[in-house]
Amino acid sequence: MKFNPEQTRRQFIKNTAQVFCTGSILLSLKNIESKSIKDKFDASNLIEARYYEKLPNRKIKCVLCPRECIIDDQETGYCGVRENYGGTYYTLVYGKPCSAHVDPIEKKPLFHFLPGSTAFSIATVGCNVLCKFCQNWQISQARPDQVESHDFPPKAIANYAYKNDCQSIAYTYTEPVIFTEYMYDCAEAGKSVNVKSVMISNGYIKAQPMKDLCKVLDAVKVDLKAFTEKFYKEMVAGQLQPVLDTLVLLRQEEMWTEIVYLVIPTLNDDTKELQQMCKWIVRELGPDVPIHFSRFYPQYRLKNLPPTPVTTLVKARKIALDSGIHFAYIGNVPGHEGESTFCPGCNNIVVHRMGYQIVRNDIKKNGQCQHCGHKIAGIWN
């Protein structure tokens, strides 16, 4: 492996600039008029939700995610951000992000999508599952009246990303499925100024809304939280099969997709489970879908387990590579060689990473390895 100190320095300066840029965005967000949820039922503030069916007695059925909540008048769905009001279903978070940040795309993580670029990352409150190990539970498990939000309409999001040299808008931190209307409109606005869009999701979404989103998105990262229904039921309050269905759908739609698997000691680190999952990925999605094995740290309601031993992550990565997956990574272990991309053709490092920084990138703009010319799967230009 060759080390280029000059390039590293440049990268360092670039990343430092990103930090300052991030600070300025947070500062400017404070100047944006804060909107209280108290007047959320002022009709002019509300956007009618997409993906629902009207039922008798002012009930509605939400068909956005596999949960398919049936919601009485003046009640919200499981996500807490979509409310039935008089038989009409509204999104309470359209244009109201609670978080906005400029992040390196590697933080998402998306390793095969414009490496070294930045993504203007936004989130509203809410989530359609309940992971006991959630890293952003302060906003994902809250409701709109419990977290301060800001007026930030789609066009302003796109313009902000463009003016700050972000090559993409990332819908992330919480679960973007629950603000699908806002995400769609932001992505559409982004396209008009040549800014791409990436969805960082749990994949817990019904087929039609996902198909619609594929028209405006450029990449999707899916958290595959385990490969057993038991785990999904007990730790996520969701189901595995719909997530697998989403992954297959993304493949059919030719959407660039990467998978993250948070390895939690004793809960989803079984060798057989990992083998079955990797075989399924190769069979159903193909060997070029990258998988990131991320290190778990005790969080939220799962504080009784230790951080994932690095040896477990190494084992998981080896299982993936042995199963035929071309790109298997180790996440949340800065400096580990498993952060870098190896060319499947010549086995040289083609993207050398250190944490979220790109130390060296040996992939040509057309996606070929500079060493052997092998075409590396991903979006590089």
């Binding site: 949820i37 108290k38 039922f41 007695n57 002012r58 009930k59 049936i70 009485d72 008048d73 003046q74 009640e75 919200t76 769905g77 499981y78 996500c79 807490g80 309940l130 006991k132 498990q141 809250a142 409701r143 009246d145 419990q146 309050a237 939220y300 309601r301």
Partner: protein, 334 residues
């Protein structure tokens, strides 16, 4: 050397434990404790009055007050209701009256009942400025007709959206939630004043379910008919230790179409369910709703997939929040 006998010590311990279990104050003189000794659990008073409304079907405040007085007198077996209130509250208590206003006007905790409870609290010496009528949000209270008041010297009416939620997460079983600051930080005692009605997911909503209005994430806990989540929420120490009495508003009951108000399924029961045991009160409330459903040729809640199984869970060995065997609940009807 202590002169108390071992048997007396154990007996006292059991009584005190049982009293704490139901959120009452040990040492209170009155019939309720005698009932407990005799039947192994506290009674539930079902108080009804058919002439509680005027000819326009509006509640008569004075009659509601009388009904509550009689319920308290019978629950505590005392001659005057104020004696009962004095058993429950001290002068320096800050008392939260937890109402349920989510169903809007028509099927929410009635203002007349809340006013009667306030009179009772005042008769126990509780200062007006130490009484807070609260629910999830100001808008919930306002849509029912409560006026938001935050003046420190008056009886206060406001929602948790004003007071906020605790930073800490309170956990039991499947539940992990931030709790209302009103419950945790502002009140020393709670009067649980739910409304009895049908619920489209969990079957019925009454005493146990009312505390979904005290957590920040009730939307996460309606799966599986709210079982075991509703029971788990009621196990949280801040709720168990502060609820002194339950006064369930059964003046108007809705037996189908809930939780929003559906007048075609609402009827004037003109009653109150008063006691210390939330499980017993919910069991009785469920039975009242089932009887009304039967009379109106509706299927049972079990048949429509909405059996409130969380009530049995609240009574199980793990939770022990009260008794759910209808045949063994000691009911006083007045």
């Amino acid at each position: 050397m202590c002169s108390i006998k071992r048997r007396e010590f154990i007996q006292t311990g059991i009584k005190a434990g049982a009293a704490f279990y139901f959120g009452t104050i040990p040492g209170c003189k009155g019939g309720a404790k005698e009932h407990f000794n005799k039947n192994n659990h506290y009674p539930i008073v079902i108080a009804q009055n058919s002439v509680i409304r005027d000819k326009n079907e509006n509640l008569i405040g004075k009659q509601v007050n009388n009904l509550l007085d009689r319920a308290m007198e019978n629950l505590f077996q005392v001659n005057k209701a104020e004696q009962a209130w004095q058993c429950l509250f001290k002068e320096n208590d800050v008392v939260g009256i937890k109402v349920n206003c989510l169903g809007g006007k028509g099927i929410s905790t009635h203002i007349e009942l809340v006013e009667a409870i306030i009179e009772g609290l005042k008769s126990a010496g509780v200062l007006e400025r130490n009484i807070i009528v609260w629910d999830r949000a100001n808008r919930d209270l306002e849509k029912v007709g409560y006026r938001i008041i935050t003046d420190r010297n008056k009886i206060k009416y406001y929602g948790t959206d004003v007071a906020g939620y605790t930073y800490d997460i309170y956990e039991y079983g499947e539940v992990g939630s931030h709790l209302s600051n009103i419950l945790v930080k502002q009140c020393t005692a709670i009067v649980n004043v739910p409304i009895l009605k049908d619920h489209g997911i969990v079957g019925i909503t009454n005493a146990l379910k009312n505390f979904f209005g005290a957590i920040h994430n009730p939307n996460k806990y309606h799966d599986f008919n709210g079982d075991p989540y509703i029971a788990d929420v009621n196990m949280l120490s801040e709720i168990r230790s502060k609820v002194r009495i339950i006064i369930s508003d059964a003046l108007t009951i809705q037996y189908d179409g809930g939780p929003p108000f559906m007048p075609q399924w609402a009827w004037h029961y003109n009653g109150l369910l008063v006691g210390f045991d939330p499980v017993a009160i919910d069991t009785i409330g469920w039975d009242i709703i089932e009887q009304q459903r039967k009379e109106n040729r509706l299927q049972t809640l079990k048949q429509v997939g909405r059996e409130p199984t969380y009530i049995a869970t609240a009574a199980d060995e793990k939770h022990r929040l009260g008794f759910n065997d209808l045949s063994k609940i000691n009911v006083i009807r007045i």
